[in-house]
Amino acid sequence: MTHIKYFVLASRQGKIRLTKWYYSYAASEKEKILKDLTPLVLSRKAKMCNIVEYSDHKVVYRRYASLYFICGITPEYDNELLTLELIHRYVETMDSYFGNVCELDIIFNFSRAYEILNEMIMCDGSIAESGKAEVLQQVKTMDTMESNDNLDRVLS
């Protein structure tokens, strides 16, 4: 079962690229977590396992090129190995959406990255859709509707 508390993307330089909270943390707690996460994850060596204990929960992360994908998980419910699959699935989906995704794609199109995440992971932090094609199709259809709207507006 997946029941993640938050999903954070951070660059190798420690810059936060995306944050999504599935657990109601107070603003100060969020700030603290974000401050702690990057040094915690960046200090890990390549050969170490991708699961770290942090505060009262665990953090599962994986690095793809220059970006770290980091999930806070609930140890009692979450399946750490499945969380890694979830991260991988998200990366794959973005890869198909952007076509060979890179950090810059995510920086400039962060709202798209959020849209994809919202289709994949539901409000309580568990997986909502396991089909990659389904996620892509819904996001792309909404994109088309959006651009049709824009076209209408220009024409009128």
């Binding site: 920086i107 539901m122 409000c123 509707m145």
Partner: protein, 824 residues
Amino acid sequence: MAGSSLRSFIKDVRSAKTVAEERAIITKASAKIRTKLRDDHLPQEKRRNNIQKLLYLYVLGEKTHFGQVECINLIASDDFADKRLGYLAATLLLDGTQDLLTLLTNLLNNDLSHPNRYVVSLALTTLGFLSSSELARDLYPDVENILNRSKDPFLVKKALQCVAKLILKDATLLEVFQPLYLVSLLQNRSICTHGVLLSITKVLQSILSSYPQYQNSIKQEDSTADVSGIVTELVPMMPELLTILQNLNTKNFEPEFDIQGTSDPFLQCELLCTLRMFFQVCTSISVSRIDQYVNKFGDLLTQIATNTDGSKNCGQAILYETVRTIFSLNMEQPLRVLGINILGKFLSGKDNNSKYVGLNTLLHVVPQEPAAVQRHRKFISRCLRDPDTSIRKRALELSFAILDEANIKELVEELIEFLKKASEDDKSLIVYTVENLVTAFNVNQSVDQNWKLETLVTVLKLVGPFITAEPVSDILISINNATDSRHRNEVVRDMLKISLDKSRQDEVTEDNVGWRIATIWCIGEYGGAVLQGGQDKVVSESSLSEYLVQQQKLCDKSENKILHYILTATLKLSTHINDPGCIEALRQIVVSHTKDADLMIQTKSVQYEVIFRQPSSVKKVICEAMPKFEKKVEPEVPKNLVTLSRTKSAQQEPPDVLDLLGDDAGTSSGPAKSADSQPQSSPADLLADIFGTDGNGIIDATSNKINAPQTLQIPPESVKVHESASVDCFVRLVSCSMGIAQLELYLKSKESIQNFQTFCAVPKTQKLTLSQIHPSNSLEAGQVARQNLKITGSGKLKLRIKLDFMRHGTNDNQQFDHKFDQTL
């Protein structure tokens, strides 16, 4: 930057050379967005543009509260692009607690019945993210409406996800939720995509996890109410769920959901987890029809455990979930062993993540299946050498969890190997290991004592630089308590050889404080015994003294702890050697600290110096080796005795003390007083009991002997306040000012008395503090004991004292009053 796009804003921020420059750009943009959003005449497109920038500020971790209302305005727009952005912004910037949510209710209400399925889906997603219990109650009918009407898998999926969240937010929705909807939905294969199945499991999980709490809240209002219908109506889904899981695991038809040859691990895990919760809840409320499915589920778990390809992470994820299910339902033994073996396989693999979860899970299930875990000891030990700290830590914990009398030798060898390779980075792991090793030795008493001692010394040699004082003293206790003293002396001799031999100096580094302390202590305790066993070039009277002298020179201010050890060792060693030169060198060590800045050390040195001057027959007795020390077991026994006797005396006391003040004018009732003085006298008993009774093994022989010869004298200025056949009582007023009086009570016995106790009472306006009786509560004829009294408060200074003691084996008590001239 005016009117610029989101893209150029991001570029600007990225192009900043310094943090300060970046900050300036962001602050400026933030201010600008704030003004723009306040402008009512801003064109819609600009408005959207600004919200996009606002979202970027959110990503950067900036304040965005000023745009919250604007997000809601965007949702109200008819434009799909606006709605989409508005909903996205709402899920990010708003949280479930704000008043703004009431503004949202209407908008969501409209959009949930919007003709465009994407608008509906956005509304459902947002409702899920922002649901408060009010929103849950208000909007649940709309969501239910979608479920009842729609045949669109996409919308059904979204609506179910939303329901799952709403039920968690407000458990009373269980009353209105129709479980039969799920049952019939599951039978309608055309709708059941993987996404819909996932969301069905989510709703089930929500129902099952909020059910116990809901049941309790209902039962509180009406104890006869039975709400188990919600769960029993779901039971017909069980066979269907089992079949779906079985099919998923065995057949792999859909390439869309395939991950490296495994079919949809996400759905498989969710199904496993849901079934697990199902069985847990059903067993807790004893649903009768559930039994028939338990065996079937067991078979299915066996099948999954054997069929799933465990070579890839996704397969391992399913296997891991299976194992967790087996153990949380405590399935039958063959299944549990199967589960342990799966985890064992994780450990033998190369992947660090599966090793980590394997160790972690094994640690939890050791109590359920200890023997099966033992079988994988080889791999557990191998994980001790893993380059990853968190894996080593888990492996250590697990090693100690499976340690028993049968495997202690082999496991400890492995642990020593681990300690040999451990570096300074592993400090916490080292401390953990040593602490647990000592505990393990204490628990497994039957272990070969000689081997245990050698092991501990080896451990100390390896990790001395890293460990704290606590484990070092634990090791010293073990050396002290060794049963075979001949063997112990040999071990100590070997230790000394390493410490004293210059050519072996590199074996133990100077920062090995633990080793140094142990050596110093052993010289003091066993120096004599070792020397008796024969002197050689390395171990001799002069080399031992020389070592202490050197160590004392090495000590700087920060190492006072070592200095304490050195001083005691010096004194003790001096009684065992004959060479006057060496003895003098040792005496000089003590003398050099008699003016030490540290009070404790100074006191110790002065006292030791006194002992040094005693004739050797006296010294020998004082400096005998320590008695056997029971660190954990023994002190508790006298403690219990003390509490017993305390309660006994507490029961007897109140009437006595009340009685004491009975005739005192102005102090009509004494309970407050007795409550005051009682706990104060009790700790004194307690201490007196512990220190007074000889032979409970925890008294430092040295300190006891030092105190004994100092006989108290009654100061001449004290006043005799009481006289009887067995005891005389004197009081001296030390000081009396500012509402505080200090008194000294002297008791001079005329015959041998034991278990001496004093109960004192003062007028109601005053408060009394009693110290313990010094030097002890047993007196020989002619001996004097002293007790300090402190009285605070106001009024005339007067005392009522009751003496309680044992005389010739019988209880006796005496009572008297004394009035002072002074007033507080």
